[in-house]
Amino acid sequence: MAELHILGNIHGASNFKYQSLFCRYSFQAGPNWTVVSGLPEGQTVSGQLGSSQSAVWSHPLDIHYITKGLQGWPKLLLHVSCLDSLGRTWTVGYSCCSLPAVPGYHEIELPCWAPSAATLTDRIRQYFLGGSHQLLQTDIINIGLDRLKLKTESRGTVKLHIDIVLRNFSQFGVEYK
């Protein structure tokens, strides 16, 4: 049985225009993949933007998959949210990345985006009162192939530091490097 270990941390976010940020994450994989240990979803702490306009979370990741096929290689989905001074939260960025299929250490940058305000009224309301449009179906983040109708705004980036460990893949004729 082939095994995949994902170890590392969600380092932090940069270039967001909000003072306090946190991130919800989830690993998505195909039906061949089973989580043996570790939590496939979680939430980081809330981090304040520092002088370099970046919030640091250093949220640890440790997940162990077993698989019976290569289809549906795991992906990491991120929902970056902000926390304002009134304690309100809303999503300010979505992102997705496919995890590297090569063992070793990887530094990955995930560019984020968020649905833009559809009307001028929404834009004014968001400017003065905060809040944002959110996706009802988050599947589109990782499986949408033609998503032209989705209007978004570019937001900051999230940095990921991970180590990938593959085990027994070569026994099944898999080449990864």
């Binding site: 049985m1 290689w73 990345c97 090569v102 560019p111 998503r147 032209l148 937001r155 004729g173």
Partner: protein, 513 residues
């Protein structure tokens, strides 16, 4: 410098599943610096414990088996030295049979050589209590404390009493010690200097049926123990210990049980063990492709349209075309404009295993939209996506066709926007096909990332099977070889019949003419 304790000896506790009487103690002893090269025959035997057999003396003991040292033998052979029942018993044994002295000998339970864990524990407790008493005396608290301790009704008193009797009430122990005799004797086997070092102590808790082994079992090659006296003086000997139990008749039953368990486990986890494999003779490539961002483009609202063209010999049922969402670029004074996409595309392609496939062609068209809803191409890019396994990142420079006349090009760009469209994107792969009326101006960069994993049938990777061995992989390999031969034969037949058809065609025209 700090004084480090370099001893590698640890104590082990073993729960017994078989009677202690069936315990065999194996001890290998050898000089610490004794190096003896193994013979060639030793290698041909492929013995796993090669180092142990070289220059190591093996001693075997059973549980409570008495072995005598030279000093003990001379002492107990004379009845005048024997006082206790045990000593008299030893004298009878030595007298009745011809027993030889051993360098490594044993002290059994009746010898009372060292205290058992129970007595040690009590001694520690009594020491601790004495220490406590002396402290109390110094602090003049005895009167106060005894009032609490001696009153049965007080909960604290019960606590003190219970801690006093907590450990080993009712537990009984049997001990055995294996000792190395390094004493000096004269020619008449009379003792000159008595030197003994305990190699192994076994304490059997008969109540709860476990054995404390001090030090625990080890191997001579990886973790040999040094022979040391109780004061820590080393004697240039190393040794290893093994504990074994006699084989019993129920081994076969156990083997059958294990086989059944293994079969049951396999049937239960069958769905995990069946790894999805490509068909024989084919190689599958799994590509996870990401369009990350577009930078340095003039327009604010951008999206990327991509087209995938598979080369000959590579098949895929996945998409050939897709579009990202429309995103508004981030603008800042210090950094270039950035449009974030983070769109992932999963591709699964299949190719023949016997040859390396050509790279997949991926064409990108970066398109802008405006508030009127007009879509205008900002640039084109082309990526030859190799199918080599690995994780890669690439920055592509996007280009757009532009008139050679600079004024005309700028006025078109200002009033109309966009650029001239390419009818056939293959122009990007073959620059010689480009229209000479235009030149290509860079319009921005596109950031991409992808991982590729390849999978082929295992039969191709296994070493060739022995002819006598019949296995599934051998059958698969045989079938594959037959298929290859069949393909070659069919190709030869096709080549031969092609010539024949040409001749036949000529013949027909000649006949008809």
């Amino acid at each position: 410098m700090n004084d480090f304790n370099r001893s590698n000896k640890v104590t082990g506790v073993h729960w017994l599943k078989k009677p202690i009487t069936s315990l065999n103690i194996k001890l290998h002893l050898k000089p610490e610096n004794g190096i003896a090269l193994p013979n060639f025959e030793d290698f041909t035997n492929e013995s796993a414990n090669l180092v142990q057999t070289v220059d190591a003396t093996e001693f075997n003991f059973k549980w409570q088996q008495k072995t005598f040292s030279t000093w003990e033998l001379s002492r107990y052979s004379d009845i005048h030295n024997c006082i206790s029942d045990t000593e008299l018993e030893y004298h009878e044994i030595i007298k009745d049979s011809s027993i030889e002295a051993s360098k490594v000998f044993t002290y059994i339970h009746e010898d009372n050589y060292l205290p058992t864990p129970k007595t040690e524990n009590l001694r520690e407790k009594s020491d601790g209590f004495e220490g406590l008493t002396s402290c109390m005396a110094k602090l003049s608290l005895n009167g106060t404390l005894s009032r609490f301790v001696n009153e049965d009704t007080m909960s604290m008193g019960r606590l003190f009493r219970s801690e006093d009797n907590i450990a080993v009430d009712g537990d009984s122990w049997m001990s055995m010690h294996v000792v190395l005799d390094n004493s000096e004797y004269n020619e008449d086997s009379q003792l000159l200097l008595k030197q003994e070092a305990v190699l192994l102590s076994l304490h059997h808790n008969t109540t709860r049926n476990y054995v404390i082994v001090s030090p625990d079992v080890n191997t001579l090659e990886w973790n040999p123990y040094a022979v040391e006296t109780s004061t820590g003086v080393r004697w240039n000997y190393v040794y290893a210990l093994q504990l074994e139990f006699d084989r019993e008749d129920d081994v076969d039953d156990l083997e059958i049980l294990l086989k059944k368990l293994k079969k049951k486990w396999h049937s239960k986890n069958k769905h995990f063990l069946n790894f999805t494999m490509p068909s024989i003779g084919k190689k599958q490539y799994f590509i996870t492709f990401e369009i990350l961002s577009a930078k340095d483009f003039d327009a604010d609202e951008l999206y990327v349209e991509f087209f995938i063209k598979y080369p000959d010999g590579v098949t895929s049922s996945d998409v050939h075309h897709g579009r990202t969402h429309v995103t508004t670029s981030m603008r800042s004074e210090d950094e270039p404009t950035q449009a974030h996409f983070a769109q992932t595309v999963d591709l699964q392609v299949e190719a023949d295993d016997d040859h390396e496939p050509a790279p997949i062609k991926v064409f990108f068209e970066v398109i802008s939209t405006d508030w009127w809803g007009r879509h205008r191409t900002e640039g084109y890019a082309y990526l030859p996506l190799p199918l080599d396994p690995g994780h890669r990142t690439r920055v592509l420079t996007c280009v757009r066709p532009e008139e050679k006349d600079k004024v005309e090009a700028e006025s078109r760009r200002f009033f109309v926007g966009g650029c001239h469209l390419l009818k056939d994107l293959d122009v990007l792969t073959k620059p010689r096909m480009q229209n000479t009326d235009f030149h290509y101006a860079s319009s921005g960069t596109l950031h991409l990332r992808w991982s590729t994993v390849a999978q082929s049938t295992i039969a191709c990777r296994l070493p060739p099977a022995q002819p006598s061995v019949s296995s599934a992989s051998a059958v698969l390999q045989g079938a594959e070889a037959v298929l290859k031969q069949y393909r070659k034969a069919r190709a030869r037949l096709a080549a031969a019949t092609r010539d024949l058809k040409c001749h036949d065609g000529g013949g027909d025209s000649w006949v008809n003419g």
